[in-house]
Symmetry: D2
C-alpha cells in the first residue's frame, strides 16, 4: 500500500482521486489545491487530509505524487517532487515550451526521476490491444498508420488563446500514439491546417482542422486527422497497415442497440465525452503507477516521451505556418 | 450447348429467360405461355420461337424444360416433360397437395426423372457458403438453427386465399433450408401462428406471423420465424449453432454507405425485393441446370425434397391449428 | 445516506458490497455470513462490521437488506427482513418451489414489503435501452421477440443436480425479460429440450439445450433459445420485431479491435464472463435500491414478478417433458 | 438502339463488350484489335464484325466508339473518333503526358467532342451514393476527405517501368474522386512516398506506398492513402467529414457470413479483384454512355477531368521527389 499525495482537485484531479481510492495498492492521504474548498471536498470524500505542497513532499510516508494541477505548474511541481525523491504521475503535457521541457528533462534524468507522464490513450484497452497485437506481428511489419482524433466540440475561444495551439494542445496525444506505434523516431513532419469550424479560432491565431504526415527514416508514414468539432461525436480511431494485413481500433458505442426501419439500420452514438471514453484508461493509469511504485516497472511513458511529442507538435505547427515540411 | 424450352413467360419466367440467355452452356429456343403476347415478347428478346407444349416436348433438340408456369400446372407439365425424357427445372412448389405430390413423386422416381426443384435460397451465395462451412465442420457438430424469413409486405388477400396458407406458400422455403442444413430428417413439428399484420388475412383463414420449432431424432432443433410484413425490409437470415461456435448469414445491404451524425450511425437499407436479393441465386440455378444437363451432377434438390418440405408445411399448419405438436 | 446490511459474502455478495460502497447514497454497515472469515473480509474492506441476522434486523439504523445468500435462504431471510420493516434487495430466484413462492408472495403483499428482486438483465444498459425504445414506440406495436441466452460453459454436474433444472435455473432470466418486454401476460408455453452438450446432464435428469415459445392472449410470441454451452462465448442477445421495424441488442465485445487479413476480418471476442458482461448492471441495481430507499420509486421487479417467472419456468419444464403446450 | 464500335478486345475490352451486349439501348457491331484472333473471338460472341478503325469510323451507323486499347493509343483513337463525329467512351487515363493531354483537350473542346472518360469509381453504387448524399447535404458542409485505395498485390515490375509511376497509374483514380467530391479545385499538393513493398519497384524508379494531402482555396483537405500491396485485400474506402457528421463507404464483402468462435467473430473477405469489385460500375458506365448517346446527358467525366487528374498526379510525383508542396 503506497501513500499518495494529489496536487490539483479540479475535474481531472477528481477522476484520479476516485481511481486512487478504488485501487487496492494505493491510498490517497494528502490533497493539495490553491482552492481550499476544492481540496477539502476531495479529501473528505476519501479520508485524506488537506495539505500544502511542502507538507506533502516533506511527508516521508508519501511514496508518490499525482500532479493534476494547471499546465504551467506541471514542471515545477514535478521537479520539486523529483527532488524530494517521490515517484511522479504527471498529467500531460509536461510543458508547452519545448526549450523549458528539454532543460527540465535533463534535470529529471540527472535525478533519476521515476516520472510517469500520463498520456491516457496508451492505457485505453482498445488502443493497448492494437499496440500489443501490432508489436506481436499480427499484421507483419508496420508500413503506415492512420490516426483519427476529432473532438465533439471546440473549447471556448478563451481557452484556445492560452492552449498553445491545436498541435500542442490536442494533436500532442496523437504524436505520442504515433511514436508509440511507429517503432521508429519521426524524421520529417508536414502539416496542413485550416479554420473551418469557427472563425474566432482563426482570429485567435489558431486552426481547428489539420492533417499531418509524419515520416520515419525507413519510410514508414503516419497520417493524423485532427478536428476541433466533429458533428458526430468523439471520434477516436486508429488503423495500422502492415505487410500482412490491417489492424484497427474503432469507436466504442454507448450501447449495442440497433434499430432497423424502412430507411436502414441505425446504431447508437459512440461515447461522446472524453471522461466516458477513457474512464477505463484513467483507472489503468492508477494501476500502472502502482506497478511503478511496487518497483518492478519503469514508466511506460516518461519525460523523454513528453519532450519528443512536444517537439513533433512544434514542428507540425511550424510546417502548417510555412507550408514546408520540417526535418528533425 | 443445350437447347431449352421455357414454359411460363411471366415475372419469374422472364428472370429465368434472361439467365438462360446469359449462360454460355444453355440456349433458350422455345417459349410457351397461354398469353401469346407474353410468349412472343420473351421469344423475340432472346431469339427463340413461340411454341405449344406439345411442340416443345416433341422437339428432339430440346434437352431441358423450365417450368415457370402457374403453381397448379407444375406437376402436369413436369410429368409430361419427364415422360418425354427431358430434364426438368421446376419452380417451387412441386404442388400444394401432399397426396398428389407423393403420387407424382412415385411416377418421377419410376421414370428416373432428372427434376431440379428450384428452391432459390440454396443457391444464394451467402446461404450456400454457410452450408458449406457448416458441413465442413467450421463450428463443430450442429446443435440448432435459427431461420428468420420476414417478407417486406403481405401479398394481396386474393392471393392469400389461393396460396395454400403461410406454411405451404412462404415457410416452405425455410422447411427446405432446415432440411438441407439440419443433416437429419425432422421427426416433430410445433408451430404457433397469429394474425398480427392484417385482419383480412385472418378472415381469409390464414395467419401472417408464425414461429415453428422442428426437431430431429437426435434432438437437434430448428426455430423458424415467419412474418408476412417486416416494417424494415426483406429479412433473410440464418444462424447455426454448433458445438464449437456459431455461423450466420446476415442480410445484404443496398450499399456499404454509413452516415454518422449526432444521433448515431446509420447504415443503408438491405435489399428489399426478392428479385434483387436472390438475383445471383437465380443465375446460379441456371448454371446448376447446365451442370445437370452436362450429365455429371444430380439435382441438388429434387421432387423428393419437394414432397418432404410440403409434408413439413402440412404438419406445421396442423400444429398451428390444433395447438399440438405433430410427430412425423 | 442509507445504512445497508449484506447477507451473504460469497462471489455475488462481494460484487454487491463493492457497488454499495461506491454508491454515494448507500453505506454498507453490517455483513452477515455463516463463514466468519468471509464476513470479516468483506466487512474489513468496506469499514462495516460482522453481524448476525438478528442483530442486523434489530438495528434501527439499517434501512435495507441485501439478500445474497444461498438460494434456499432467499425466502426466509427476505420474509424476516420484511417483518422487520426493512426494504429488501433479493438476489434471484425468489425460490425454486412455485407453491412456496406463491404463499410467500401473499405474505409479502400483506406486509406491504418493498422487495426488489434483482433480475440483473433488466439493468443492463443495452437491454434497458432496448426496452425503453420499444416502449417508446420506436418500432411500432410489438409482434414478437427473440431472446438468445447461451452460457459459455455448463456448470458442474453436481450443481446441475440441485439447480432446479435448466428452466428454473437459467431460462428464468429470459422468462423475466420476456414478461418485461412483451407487455402482456403469457398464456401458452411450449418447450423442446435436448441433451446435446453433456450426457452427464441428461443422466442427472436435466437438459442442456432448449427452445421455448411463449404466447400471449393477443397472439404476440416470444422465442427463447437456451444452451448451457456455446463454443463461442456468453451470447446474450434480444431482437424485438414490431409493426414498423426491428430493434435489437447485440453482444458487447471485449475491445473494438479488428484485424483484417487475407482470410477476412476478425473482431474481438465478446465479454465472456457474466460478472464482466453485467458489471454495469450490478452497479445500476445498487442505484435502483437507493432510489427505492429514497422513497420515490417502487421496485422495478418484485416478488410478484419472481412468482410469475417461476410459473413460466415450471410450465416450460412440464411442456418439455410431456411434449404438449401448457396453458396458463 | 445505338451502334457501337469497340477498339481493343483485351481484358477490359471484353468487360465492356459484355456490358454493351447486355444493355438494351446499345448494340456492339464492330470490334477492332491489332490481334485478329482477339477481335474475332469478341465479335463472334456478340454477333459483331471484325473491322479496322478506318472502317468503323467511316460507318455512318456507328454512333459511339469505346476506346479500350493500350494507354498510348487512347488519345489518337479518341481524336480520330471525335473528328469523325462519334461519341467517345475512353478508358482512363487520357494520356500519361500532361502537355500532350492539354493540347488534345484544346482540340476536343474545339471539336465539341462528347468524350466520356471512364473513371470507373464514379459509377460504383457505393461511392455514387456517398457523393449524392454528400452533395445533398447529409453531413453539412464538407471539410475533409479520406480516400483509402490499396491494391491487393503489386503489378509486375515490367509494368511498373512503363506505368508512368504510382501517381499517374494508380492514384489518378483517387485524384479524380477527390476532385469530384471536394467541390472545389485543388490548389496545393503534398505527397510523401516510400518503397516498402518491393525493392525492385524502387530500383525501377517508382514508389509503392504513398500518402498525399490535397488542399483547396477555402482550406478543405483530402488525404489519399495508396499502397501497391495490402496483405488483406482490395481496400477501397472513402470517408467524408462535414460540419454535421461523417459519411463513409466501406468495402464490399464476398458474403455476409460470419463465424463466431472462441477467439472472436470472423467476417468474410472483401471482394479482392477489381473486376469483381467494380463489376456493377462497369455496367453502369455502359448505361451512362447510352444516356449520352440518347442526347440528354453530358458526360459525367470528360477530357477536362482527365487533364485535371493528370495535373494532380504530376504535382504529387514532383512533391514526393522534392519534399516540397506544389502550388497549382
Amino acid at each position: 500500500m503506497h501513500d499518495i499525495a494529489l496536487i490539483g482537485a479540479g475535474r481531472i484531479g477528481k477522476i484520479h482521486a476516485a481511481n486512487l481510492a478504488a485501487n487496492p495498492r494505493l491510498r490517497l492521504t494528502r490533497v493539495v489545491d490553491p482552492f481550499p474548498e476544492a481540496a477539502a471536498a476531495v479529501a473528505a470524500q476519501y479520508g485524506a487530509r488537506v495539505s500544502t505542497i511542502e507538507e506533502a513532499l516533506a511527508d516521508a510516508a508519501i511514496a508518490g505524487v499525482v500532479v493534476a494541477s494547471s499546465t504551467d505548474t506541471h514542471l515545477p511541481y514535478s521537479l520539486a517532487a523529483a527532488e524530494a525523491g517521490k515517484a511522479i504521475f504527471c498529467e500531460k503535457p509536461l510543458d508547452q515550451d519545448l526549450g523549458r521541457a528539454r532543460e527540465s528533462a535533463a534535470r529529471f534524468a540527472a535525478l533519476g526521476a521515476r516520472l510517469f507522464l500520463a498520456f491516457n490513450r496508451r492505457f485505453d484497452p482498445n488502443f493497448a490491444a492494437l499496440q500489443a497485437r501490432l508489436a506481436g506481428g499480427a499484421v507483419g511489419a508496420l508500413e503506415s498508420l492512420h490516426i483519427i482524433s476529432h473532438d465533439p466540440a471546440p473549447p471556448p475561444v478563451d481557452y484556445v488563446k492560452v492552449s498553445g495551439g491545436i498541435f500542442k494542445d490536442m494533436v500532442i496525444h496523437d504524436f505520442d500514439m504515433a511514436r508509440w506505434l511507429l517503432g521508429e523516431e519521426v524524421t520529417e513532419v508536414f502539416a496542413s491546417a485550416s479554420v473551418l469550424v469557427d472563425p474566432a479560432i482563426g482570429e485567435a491565431g489558431d486552426a481547428d482542422t489539420a492533417k499531418t504526415i509524419l515520416r520515419t527514416a525507413s519510410g514508414r508514414m503516419c497520417v493524423i486527422s485532427s478536428s476541433r468539432r466533429s458533428g458526430y461525436g468523439y471520434d477516436q480511431r486508429i488503423e495500422a497497415f502492415g505487410s500482412k494485413g490491417m489492424i484497427r481500433a474503432q469507436n466504442q458505442l454507448e450501447t449495442t442497440v440497433e434499430t432497423w426501419g424502412e430507411n436502414g439500420a441505425a446504431a447508437d452514438r459512440f461515447q461522446n465525452f472524453f471522461l466516458d471514453r477513457y474512464a477505463v484508461a484513467y483507472a489503468r493509469e492508477a494501476d500502472h503507477f502502482a506497478d511503478i511504485l511496487d518497483g518492478g516497472t519503469p514508466p511506460l511513458v516518461d519525460f523523454r516521451d513528453g519532450v519528443a511529442a512536444l517537439a513533433l507538435a512544434e514542428a507540425a505547427a511550424q510546417s502548417a505556418q510555412t507550408g514546408e515540411r520540417v526535418l528533425l
